[in-house]
């Protein structure tokens, strides 16, 4: 057989083209994502709304924490709830937004459709990881700013510790979300499985029972769960009076190292 006479296939691998295509995909996906009001509400607004709602409605949350060590004895009670709300923002995006997104891409054949183009479907997952990180920054940022401006919550004592724990919480929880989405054939299946993990996780991260009054045995269990460790580590970083959250940081790092490769390995593209 001779080669095909007209323009034969060549592997087009211009990095510039790939780069532009990735950001075109990103821009389009972001715009389309913003058109889903419920998804956007839970990913971006729900945590701040819960924080402000509780802070303004529950009288105890606006009273100063009189028995806390200075300078925290002048901060409003809602302060101890802010780190939990940040953990809630991470948990909501990784367990409610992400798994449904990815499983729906699979269900609708979008991943398979991309496999037929020069743009590998891995890039779509990558784009949405970026979008979810941005959503998290907006969501957590809004909670912090809202808490400080509206409720008078003081800023973190150790912002770098908070940032470190936040980054590790994100990697651990996003890996968990990826794993939840790895096999589900339908968006609904992934949603159900995500919820099954989401609600207990919220319990151990202090959304239902604040960490400050949570029984010790629950805190013990929470330490070994990704979202529990996240809330505890964020709290320690925010108040800065219990030292560096070494155990929590290690737990989050281990979860990431276990869950991420597992999620990638089990992820089905069709």
């Amino acid at each position: 057989m001779t080669a095909v006479e007209t323009t034969g296939p060549v592997r087009v691998n211009h990095e510039g083209l790939r780069f532009r295509a990735f950001w075109t995909l990103f821009g389009t996906e972001l715009r389309v994502w913003l058109r889903e009001p419920t998804g956007v509400f839970f990913a971006l607004i729900f945590p701040s709304l819960l924080l402000l709602g509780l802070g303004l409605a529950v009288p105890d949350f606006s009273k100063p924490m009189a028995d806390a060590p200075p300078p925290w004895n002048e901060a409003p009670g809602i302060t101890s709830y802010l780190p939990t709300i940040i953990a809630l923002a991470v948990g909501t995006i990784s367990l409610t937004t992400m798994p449904v997104q990815f499983a729906t891409f699979r269900e609708k054949g979008i991943l398979k459709r991309l496999s037929t183009t020069p743009m590998p479907p891995q890039n779509l997952i990558g784009v949405h990881m970026v979008i979810n990180v941005l959503a998290l920054i907006v969501s957590a940022g809004a909670a912090v700013v809202g808490g400080m401006v509206v409720l008078g919550v003081p800023f973190a004592a150790d912002p770098l510790v908070v940032l470190l724990v936040l980054v590790l919480s994100t990697t651990a929880m996003f890996s968990l979300g990826l794993l939840v989405a790895a096999r589900a054939e339908k968006g609904q299946t992934a949603s159900g499985l995500g919820m099954l993990i989401y609600f207990p996780s919220l319990m151990f991260s202090g959304v239902w029972v604040p960490l400050s009054v949570m029984p010790d045995w629950m805190q013990e269990i929470g330490l070994y769960l990704p979202l529990g460790a996240a809330a505890q580590g964020l709290t320690m970083g925010w108040f800065g009076n219990e030292g560096f959250p070494l155990a929590q940081v290690l737990v989050l790092a281990v979860w990431t190292l276990v869950l991420f490769p597992l999620g990638v390995k089990l992820f089905r593209w069709t």
Binding site: M1, T2, A3, V4, E5, T6, T7, G8, P9, V10, R11, V12, H14, L17, R20, A21, T24, L25, T28, R31, V32, R35, E36, K108, G109, I110, K112, R113, S115, T116, T117, P118, M119, T270
Partner: protein, 327 residues
């Protein structure tokens, strides 16, 4: 002489058993064919015959277990990326976000390719210009299908694979889609059309293979396949009144007795069906003319690819032969 654009030889694919202890399912047992540049080539067969598995192997979406595949001279099994730029694929199911608009989808898919078709021209070709700002979820079935074809063409492919593109469309939308596929072919794109619709294949394909049970059971142009059919041709006659019909029935029954070209004459409803060799129409007309019995209407029974299928497989053509192998 140009080499084939697509060349499949002795392709084989077996899926592992769905359940533990189950039997593995051979989706493609032995499929070979060649597609020349610029033609509409059909892969025709009932659901579960192995059509989709075949095109997935040649699009580099699936690993085959045996045989060779060449697309534009390259082996998509060894390196699927080699053909991605030049092969546009339209998959069976719709594959877009509900909230993406037509223009956005074309733009984002276009960005994947180093060469791309002019979106305005493509919208025009596919009659989507008026809907370019509409969201995918709000398009009709036909519009979705046309967008899906547009996306398969946006990277200026040399080969377009169209899988079951008229399923679920109303007759008008189907005909419009057929015309569109011909226009695509006329623009120089080689089209691989996967379908279970006999009429679609007959109407559209320059050449085709009929696949059944993972094997090619017939290959050729639709007209050659139909011409090659063995067996009887049929003529249906209708008469203005019962008297003429009875007279004709007697005449034709007698004709069937003595003329080797006429096999039988059977009344069907208020018509008479006469079967025989390719000379049957001639014989019938002569006989009736000689007796001055004038039929109201004479029509030859159409022979279709469906008859070809019946002949090569020995059974009726049913679309849902067996379960389509799950992906």
């Amino acid at each position: 002489m140009t080499s084939p654009v697509v060349e499949v030889s002795h392709l084989r694919k077996t899926y592992p058993a769905a359940k533990r202890g189950g039997t593995p399912k051979t989706a493609v047992a032995d499929v070979s064919f060649q597609v020349a540049r610029g033609e509409i080539f059909g892969i025709l067969g009932p659901n579960g015959a192995g059509k989709t598995t075949t095109v997935e192997c040649l699009a580099g979406l699936r690993r085959s277990d045996g045989g060779t595949v060449r697309v534009l001279g390259q082996d998509p099994q060894a390196d699927p990326l080699l053909i991605r730029e030049h092969v546009g694929v339209q998959l069976q199911e719709a594959a877009l976000h509900d909230k993406i608009t037509v223009a956005e989808a074309l733009d984002v898919f276009g960005s994947f390719y180093s060469e791309r078709a002019d979106p305005a021209e493509l919208l025009d070709l596919l009659d989507l210009t008026a809907h370019r700002h509409q969201q995918f979820g709000k398009l009709s079935g036909g519009q979705k299908q046309r967008l899906s074809i547009a996306l398969a063409l946006v990277g200026k492919p040399q080969v377009a694979i169209l899988d079951e593109l008229t399923t679920g469309l109303d007759p008008a939308a189907r005909r419009a889609t057929w015309e569109l596929v011909e226009r695509v072919r006329d623009s120089g794109v080689t089209v691989l059309l996967v379908t279970h619709f006999m009429d679609e294949a007959e109407r559209l394909c320059d050449r085709l293979v009929v696949i059944d049970g993972g094997r090619v059971v017939a290959e050729g142009t639709p007209s050659a396949l139909i011409e090659g059919l063995e067996g009887d041709r049929g003529v249906r006659l209708r008469f203005a009144d019962d008297g003429a019909r009875e007279r004709a029935t007697q005449l034709l029954a007698a004709l069937a007795e003595r003329d080797a070209d006429v096999t039988a004459a059977v009344p069907i409803g208020d018509e008479i069906e006469v079967t025989g060799t390719r000379k049957v129409l001639f014989a019938v007309v002569q006989e009736l003319a000689a007796a001055d019995v004038v039929p109201d209407d004479v029509r030859t029974l159409e022979r279709t690819l469906e008859d070809v299928f019946v002949q090569v497989t020995g059974r009726e053509y049913r679309v849902e032969e067996n379960e389509e192998v799950a992906a």
